[in-house]
């Protein structure tokens, strides 16, 4: 009987999972990624006659992989830098610099990402490198902001209690502060990754191979089919990743408790 209950619970969990938007949006995204090449020749009725329908510079799985790799690597670096800076700014030695870091971030956010991307080209050349630079730069800011906000949102009473119970500074950070800051921190990471996917898309204007490439090629070559294929895939990609991190956020409080 207990096994039946467990099975029912598992079935319920699976049913609940299937109803989560991330699952079906992700499924549509993956389906289109691998199916776009097959589907494209049949889309002729949507566009003016004579439009080339199949994007040939790279296959869509290749574009997705390149986009994901660029965004993923840059996001990891950005999260590491942002988190390290936030940790520094909330420790006793770094606290005097917290306000400065905060102001620096606010100023940097005033700079338009496309402008920074374009300014990186003369020194870094065309391609993935300037894109990665802009990605890391803009990815750090939300993580830094959220990290500082999250770590300083831990009530002083909790910290004192941890000190009183004999936690070492590292233990306190790892077992008390980071878990309590995690929801805010993860929200910052979510913003950071979303911005990263968007900036990587623009990166194709400076020659990086991403899902923005068919959009840019389509816009400059007057080919609406490429534009549509690129926009739909990159929008689905961004929404899928955003929803996936949202799921992680939702799962978090139970683990932190």
């Amino acid at each position: 009987m207990r096994r039946a209950a467990a099975r029912r619970a598992a079935g319920l969990a699976a049913g609940r999972l299937a109803r989560r938007p991330v699952v079906w949006v992700g499924a549509v995204f993956l389906g289109l990624t691998f199916g776009m090449g097959t589907l494209a020749p049949y889309l002729g009725f949507l566009f003016p006659a004579g439009t080339r329908l199949v994007y040939t510079r790279a296959s869509f799985p290749e574009l997705v992989a390149s986009h994901a790799l660029l965004t993923g690597a840059a996001s990891l670096i950005a999260i590491a830098i942002g988190l390290a800076a936030a940790l520094f700014a909330t420790r006793p030695t770094g606290r005097p610099y917290a306000a400065t870091l905060d102001r620096l971030g606010a100023l940097a956010q005033t700079f338009p990402p496309v402008a920074v991307l374009a300014l990186a080209v003369p020194s870094l050349g065309y391609g993935a490198l300037p894109t990665a630079f802009a990605l890391v730069l803009y990815g750090v800011l939300p993580v830094l902001g959220a990290g500082m906000a999250g770590l300083s949102s831990v009530p002083a009473a909790v910290l004192e209690a941890a000190d009183g119970t004999g936690f070492s500074p590292a233990g306190r950070l790892w077992r008390i502060e980071l878990p309590l800051a995690a929801p805010i921190l993860l929200a910052g990471i979510r913003t950071s990754v979303t911005i990263g996917i968007g900036t990587a898309t623009i990166g194709s204007t400076v020659g990086a191979l991403t899902l923005g490439s068919p959009i840019i090629d389509g816009l400059s070559g007057d080919n609406p089919a490429f534009v549509l294929q690129g926009t739909v895939l990159v929008a689905l990609f961004a929404v899928t990743v955003d929803l996936a991190i949202g799921e992680a956020q939702r799962a978090l409080p139970q683990r932190a408790r």
Binding site: R95, A98, A115, G198, L219
Partner: protein, 400 residues
């Protein structure tokens, strides 16, 4: 709670007192850049890359000495015990640093052009940019920390006037950036105005629609969740995709309703750009209005009701004044974001400052890219500063 582009309102931080480290750090950094990096770069023509020239060689001993004197003054002011005009003086020195750096670069360009002929291009080097950015950071820092309004405004205004005087004096005419501007003067102003028009129209759209959504979410909290979830998805879509995504439907619409085309609406050009900018502004505006109104304590509204105020009076005399700091902050962040995003409008044929950036990227003409990118950055910084000033003018305590 997620604002676009990570623009959460600045969290209040537990900061300890300590030595004012930023001016020291920046002047040390600027000094290093001065000694190591090229102040200007001299190239034989527009497309070839050039050789860096240090400040000492570019500006002569006099210019270098003046620059060092200003850096020394900043460091000295920073280690001084606090006094009344400390921040204002550091701010003024930072402004002087920026103006002097630009003037020296302009002079160096004139000398090089006179010596090596018309084709020579003198562009600004890494050393210049480090100095200029250091000045900008210091200026922003001083404006932020100085408590008095006049003290905040004075260094900023002095720097702006100095830079404007320098730009109009013609002393910079031989810098490659100025020459890039000189050959397309008319186009530059056209695109600048176009950029402002696109941003303004997008902002107006976002304010009207986003304001209505925010108000609705405030009045009917139960509907707020789903509405913000939908707006969140719009915000998640990469900006380039949103711009391009609107071309198709609008083209289709003008195909079905030819009357629209006579109104000047078409799938390529300003219509999708303005629509995309408006859509991007929806979430920040709606969330800002909602947050601003929700932050007004219920007891205040009840007290106003108890005093016999009408609905209209409550909105005008209670809700709006109390929500004003948040509303103005929302306006500032949205405007700055839209100015940056409007750069992309050039990709869908709508023009704006992005036109120079993408043209320059296509021709590998770094100075043309610089012209567009720097103008966009300057525009965003000016809008940010102006709205911060307006906020200070209108409210005693700006939103935190």
């Amino acid at each position: 709670m997620r604002l676009p582009a990570g623009r959460e309102p600045a969290p209040t931080l537990r900061t300890g007192a300590g030595l004012d480290i930023l001016p020291l750090l920046i002047s040390a950094f600027a000094l290093a850049a001065l000694l190591l990096g090229g102040f200007v770069v001299v190239a034989p023509n527009r497309l070839l890359s050039g050789t860096p020239l240090s400040l000492w060689h570019a500006a002569g001993p006099g210019g270098a000495a003046t620059m060092l004197a200003i850096l020394g003054a900043i460091a000295l002011l920073a280690v001084c015990p606090a006094f009344r005009f400390q921040r204002v003086l550091i701010g003024l020195a930072a402004g002087a640093l920026m103006v002097l750096a630009l003037a020296l670069a302009g002079m160096a360009a004139s000398e090089q052009a006179a010596a090596a002929g018309r084709l020579t291009r003198v562009s600004l080097g890494a050393g210049f940019w480090t100095l200029f950015l250091a000045g900008l950071l210091l200026l922003a820092d001083c404006a932020e920390r100085e408590p008095r309004r006049a003290g905040k405004a004075l260094p900023l205004l002095a720097t702006l006037i100095g830079l404007a005087a320098l730009l109009t004096s013609g002393r910079l005419a031989q810098l490659s950036l100025a020459r890039e501007y000189a050959v397309r003067q008319q186009a530059y102003w056209d695109e600048l105005v176009r950029h402002l028009e696109l941003t303004g129209a997008g902002l107006a759209l976002a304010l009207v629609a986003g304001g209505a959504i925010g108000l609705m979410a405030y009045r009917r909290p139960r509907r707020a969740g789903p509405v913000f979830a939908v707006l969140n998805i719009v915000q998640t879509i990469p900006s380039l995709a949103l711009f391009a995504l609107l071309i198709g439907p609008i083209t289709l619409l003008t195909g079905l309703l030819p009357g629209l085309r006579q109104l000047g609406i078409s799938g390529i050009g300003p219509t999708p750009a303005i629509l995309a900018l408006g859509l991007y502004g929806l979430l920040p505006v709606a969330r800002g209005v909602h947050a601003g109104l929700s932050a007004v304590p219920n007891t205040v509204v009840e007290a106003a009701l108890g005093m016999g105020m009408t609905r209209r009076q409550i909105v005008h005399n209670t809700l709006i004044p109390l929500a004003l700091p948040t509303l103005l902050q929302t306006l500032r962040l949205t405007l700055v974001q839209l100015i940056g995003l409007a750069v992309l409008a050039a990709l869908i044929g709508a023009g704006g400052l992005g036109a120079f950036i993408f043209q320059g990227l296509g021709q590998t003409a770094a100075d043309l890219v610089l012209l567009g990118a720097l103008s966009a950055i300057a525009l965003a910084l000016l809008a940010d500063t102006a709205l911060r000033g307006l906020t200070l003018f209108l409210v005693r305590r700006p939103a935190q």
